[in-house]
Each structure stands twice: as structure tokens, then as C-alpha cells.
């Protein structure tokens, strides 16, 4: 830190230098990886929350019912009541069925405790992710190639794991991860930092997508696989 001489008036420049030195503290090397892991545990930001789905479905049903009433205003009351009785039930199921399907989709998904192999693969991926950014900053291309190999093996395992359970979406993500791992290996061989950044983003995107769609955190902090 810059230290000015005692007795001298403190200038703005001196003060600014001292202040800059004071806050020039860098986070630990694993900070970014820890942020990514934390984000990986987050629920995906959803465009359609369940409450919104039901609210919109309810609004649609009300609008349709109201328009039906308006359309039949010229008819005698008996016809109006009969029309409502016949029409409303036949119309409301469409939007409500959509909302129910969204809710049912969640209910129908089965949870399964991860196998020891799956846990080992996830831990290995987490360790590789924690090291990835550091290796990139250090320009340690051989370590990055080694990380790529770890990912390749792990995504290959995941592809088989999900294929055997016929979870097509997760299979697709695993394949995207495999391709990203291959890109990472190629970029490490070519010592191409820009391509490395792209490949790392693709790997992290794959991990995050799979966690959001196929992983469920339990109240005790452990995880279940969502099938």
C-alpha cells in the first residue's frame, strides 16, 4: 500500500492510491468455480410459474364464459341458462387441462437416489469444473486436456445412464456435453484461449441444463435424479 510521508498534506491522488490499494483484494482462485456450483444448484429461472399457468387458464375460462353470455344475451333466460350449462363445461377443460398437464408432468416425474457411480461422476465433474478456470488462467493446456478427458469419460457414462432409462432430453444434453468435451480437448491442443472459453461455457451450460431439468434437491440438502 502506498504510504505518504507524515506531515505532508494528503493529496487526492495519494488518497486515491491508498484507497485503490485497500480494495485491490482478489477472490480466491476457486471463487468462480464455487459460484458456478452454487448456480448449478439453483432452480432455473422460469418464464411460466405454476401460479401464472393457473391464473392464465382461469382468466381464459372466464373470458370464454363471459363472451358466451354476451353472445346469448338476445336469447330468453331459459336458453341462456341452458347454453351456459351446456357450453361452459365443454369449454373450460381446454385451458384447465393444459394447466393440469403442467402440474401432472411434475407429479409424474419419478425421483431416484443417485447410484454410487453417478455420485462419483458428479463429484469428478464438480472437481474438474472447479479446476477448469484456474487451469485456463494459468494457461495450463495439458491440465485442460486432462480436464477434457475427465469430462469425456463422464459424459460418455451419462449418455449410457440416461439412454438405459430412456430419458431422451438428458441423453441429448449428455451428447452435447460430449461434443463440448471434444471441443475443449481440441482447443487445449491448439492452445486457443477463445475456443477454450467457448468450450467451457458449453460444458457448463450442459451441466447446468441437466441439473435444472433432471435433478431435485431434497429438504435435507441431498439430491434425487428426476426421471
Amino acid at each position: 500500500m502506498y504510504a505518504h510521508r507524515t506531515g505532508d498534506p494528503l493529496s487526492d491522488a495519494d488518497l486515491d492510491r491508498e484507497l485503490s490499494a485497500l480494495v485491490a483484494v482478489d477472490p480466491s482462485p476457486e471463487f468462480l468455480a464455487l459460484v458456478r456450483l452454487r448456480i448449478g444448484r439453483e432452480t432455473a429461472p422460469s418464464r411460466w410459474s405454476r401460479a401464472w399457468v393457473f391464473a392464465i387458464a382461469g382468466t381464459c375460462a372466464m373470458v370464454m364464459a363471459a363472451s358466451m353470455v354476451m353472445a346469448q344475451m338476445d336469447h330468453p333466460p331459459s336458453q341462456l341458462v341452458a347454453g351456459l350449462a351446456a357450453g361452459v363445461p365443454s369449454m373450460t377443460p381446454a385451458p384447465l387441462a393444459f394447466a393440469a398437464a403442467v402440474a401432472r408432468g411434475r407429479r409424474d416425474s419419478r425421483g431416484q437416489r443417485p447410484t454410487p457411480e453417478m455420485r462419483a461422476v458428479m463429484n469428478a465433474n464438480a472437481e474438474a469444473t472447479a479446476a477448469l478456470r484456474r487451469h485456463l488462467e494459468e494457461k495450463n493446456y495439458s491440465a485442460l486436456a486432462s480436464d477434457a478427458e475427465t469430462y469425456r469419460q463422464n459424459f460418455a457414462y451419462l449418455e449410457v445412464f440416461w439412454s438405459s432409462r430412456r430419458v431422451d432430453g438428458a441423453v441429448e444434453i449428455s451428447r452435447a456435453g460430449l461434443l463440448a468435451a471434444a471441443s475443449l480437448a481440441a482447443a487445449a491442443r491448439a492452445r486457443d484461449d477463445g475456443a477454450l472459453e467457448t468450450a467451457i461455457a458449453a460444458i457448463i451450460g450442459s451441466c447446468g441444463a441437466c441439473h435444472r431439468h433432471y435433478r431435485e434437491e431434497l429438504p435435507d440438502g441431498s439430491y434425487e435424479i428426476r426421471l
Binding site: 484507497l19 444434453i173 451428447r175 451450460g205
Partner: protein
């Protein structure tokens, strides 16, 4: 190969994949800012990292709602500041704040190192005595050498306001430091 990987990941994830990549880019460019903002309030590396992580997690959850993505750093800086203040108040650790760990770790405990550490401690104390609006401006201006316009953008206030707050903050800091410097001489 990259294109294929991106396409495949994007093909399944769609807009989420795009957002994911955009967020990753923002994360890389803003991680030091978030950490330093938190550190300037908490003065503890572990706490600062934890709060910065929390800020990023919150930013991630709400990233879709951020209409102007160029405002990400400002949004994140303000969020981190608030979270750090909340953490600070909740744990009430002001008295337990320790000296900048960097200076402790960096050099030997020579007389010069001790003097630098004491100087840093006095400066932090002076910063702590500033009203929050001044503190935020002076800290943000000191982080990564932000110019007045950048601080104004980060805080969403006019440049003139930043200038006047910076001026006032510097004056107060100088007065505080001047007082503490002259104390030994008056003994």
C-alpha cells in the same frame, strides 16, 4: 465442432442455453467487482466470497427479468452491496473486523509492514465513519479504477452527484486521516 456443440446444447436448452452462456460471460467479467464490493463492506474474504456467491445466485434467478443486460454490472454491484450490508448487520461483526488479510499474508512483520497495516486500518475506520451514500461512491470509484461516469452508471445517479459525493467523501477521509496522523505529534 464448437458450432455443433453449441447447436446441440442450444437445440435442447433453447433460450435457456443462450441465457446460460450470456450469464456465464457476465459472471466472468463481473466476479471481481462483486467480490470487492462485498469485501469493502465485510472486510473478510470468506464472508465476501459467500455474499458475492449469493449475489450471483440471486442475479441468476432474476437474469431473465433484467431487460437491459448492459446494466448487469450496476445491478449486480447494488445487489451485492445490499446483501453485504444485510450480512454485516445480521452478524454485527463490525467490531470483530480484522485487518486486511492481504497485508498480513503478503509480507514479513517488519516495522514497515506493521505501519502499512495500521495505515490501512485507519483508512478503513475512516471509511466506516462515512455516510453510506459517500462510502458507496468512494468504494466503487476505488475498485478497478472506475471513472466518475462509470460510478454514476453503476449507481444510477447523475455524474454531478457522484462528483460532489466523491469530493465530500475525500474531504472527510482526509480530515479523519489528518487527525489520526497528527495525534502522535501532539503528545
Amino acid at each position: 465442432m464448437h458450432e455443433r456443440a453449441d447447436r446441440l446444447a442450444g437445440g435442447f436448452v433453447g433460450v435457456d442455453g443462450e441465457l446460460e452462456r450470456e450469464f456465464e460471460a457476465r459472471l466472468v467479467e463481473s466476479s471481481t467487482l462483486a467480490f470487492r464490493v462485498a469485501y469493502s463492506v465485510l472486510r473478510q474474504r470468506e464472508d465476501a466470497e459467500d455474499v458475492a456467491q449469493e449475489a450471483f445466485a440471486k442475479a441468476y434467478r432474476n437474469f431473465r427479468q433484467l431487460r437491459d443486460r448492459t446494466r448487469f454490472r450496476a445491478w449486480l454491484a447494488r445487489m451485492t452491496w445490499r446483501l453485504a450490508i444485510d450480512r454485516y448487520r445480521a452478524t454485527n461483526r463490525r467490531k470483530a473486523l480484522e485487518l486486511n488479510a492481504e497485508s498480513c499474508e503478503a509480507g514479513p512483520s517488519s516495522a514497515e509492514a506493521i505501519a502499512v497495516r495500521e495505515r490501512a486500518e485507519r483508512l478503513w475506520q475512516a471509511i466506516d465513519m462515512l455516510p453510506e451514500k459517500f462510502r458507496m461512491v468512494i468504494v466503487l470509484a476505488s475498485i478497478e479504477g472506475h471513472e466518475v461516469a462509470e460510478v454514476a452508471s453503476l449507481l444510477g445517479i447523475p455524474k454531478g452527484t457522484v462528483k460532489s459525493r466523491l469530493f465530500a467523501a475525500r474531504q472527510r477521509l482526509k480530515e479523519q486521516l489528518q487527525c489520526t496522523r497528527t495525534e502522535p505529534a501532539t503528545r
